[in-house]
Symmetry: C2
Subunit: 180 residues, 2 copies
DNA sequence: CCGAAGTTTCAATAATTATTGAACGTTTCA
DNA sequence: TGAAACGTTCAATAATTATTGAAACTTCGG
């Protein structure tokens, strides 16, 4: 049967594979997972030992975590060491990630689309017409996603929408029983 | 000034960089972009010429697009060639992508979490306690994301929620004028 | 059944991305 | 001020992922 230590390692590994999902390297994600799995803030040394990474890799991962607002650095009492405290409010963590990816990735795409659309209007060929319509559709959809992201960043979309969905899900489960 | 051809190339390139966003290789994403940018379904040969890719790469990209439900294959009249027609309903496209990623990536994570949680209860140390609470939080949040994804897949979340947001956005723009 | 036209496969290679570790900084305190 | 303890950087290297292209396969008309 798996010990807490085993599960911790498996969790850290799994969490690492999700790195690409939110745009960081597996190592950075693993370090965040490691921090989350511990009750106390961890020093770089502890991360090195726990994860089998090089000193440099831990340093870079922790810096990236700080850039994303996913960890804070603290001084350890009576030592020169630093310890990293993870952001444990996951909704806040997600909000930080969404904000950064939106700024870095979506916003430039929207800009490009809005720059291209007027230029395409000058070409009256049916082919260019279709292309323009497609870009317009894309612009609309990404614009919508952008609004949703913004709304999420401002308030608690998760609270409002999430609760509604959970209630709906619960009542659906209560009513017609699960098939099979 | 940029011609339609130039813009098409830039768009295809940009679209390619978004591949990692939804979990396919840049080439696959570029081929989808190319198909979207054309008014008529394209043969493999046309993709090769338009994108400067090898025959094999186009073949693999198109297969992946079919797997994701993002393109259909059609026979060309009076020829043995095939032509690829892209899914142009973008909401449907997104739904396909969400469905596949959910199945491939989120669902296994949820399974693991639900397998680990009971095992952690046997360890009564305060450390394991904290770890368990963190995993519980994660499980709750991913579970919520899962419900939201499911709701999106079933009905038109975009229609319902999107319209609401668009209206809110429009009225905000009407009221207080844009700053600067 | 043959061969031409087209498509797919996959081992080899190229390109990209992640990781290391040794050298360089910085801080602290005797 | 010096040296020990710790942190950071980045060029070199390793690992991973994407792409090619030549060989194998399929389909179809004659």
């Amino acid at each position: 049967m798996a010990s807490t230590q085993d599960i911790r390692q498996e969790f850290v590994q799994l969490w690492g594979t999700m790195g690409s999902f939110w745009g960081v390297s597996p190592t950075t994600a693993r370090v965040y997972g490691w921090l989350l799995s511990q009750s106390e803030p961890q020093t770089a040394e502890q991360c090195v030992e726990g994860l089998g990474l090089s000193r440099g890799a831990v340093s870079m991962a922790c810096r990236e975590l700080r850039d994303w607002g996913l960890a804070q650095v603290e001084r350890v009492e009576g030592s020169r060491q630093q310890a990293y405290r993870p952001e444990t409010d996951l909704e806040k963590a997600i909000r930080n990630i969404v904000a950064m990816r939106k700024r870095r990735e979506w916003d430039p795409i929207l800009e490009h689309l809005r720059e291209w659309l007027p230029q395409l209007e000058r070409d009256r060929s049916p082919d260019a017409q279709v292309f323009r319509e497609r870009l317009q559709q894309i612009e609309g959809l990404i614009g919508l996603a952008d609004s949703m992201a913004e709304s999420f960043l401002k308030g608690g979309l998760v609270q409002k929408l999430g609760l509604k969905l959970l209630v709906a899900k619960a009542s659906a489960a209560r009513g017609p029983r699960k098939k099979r």
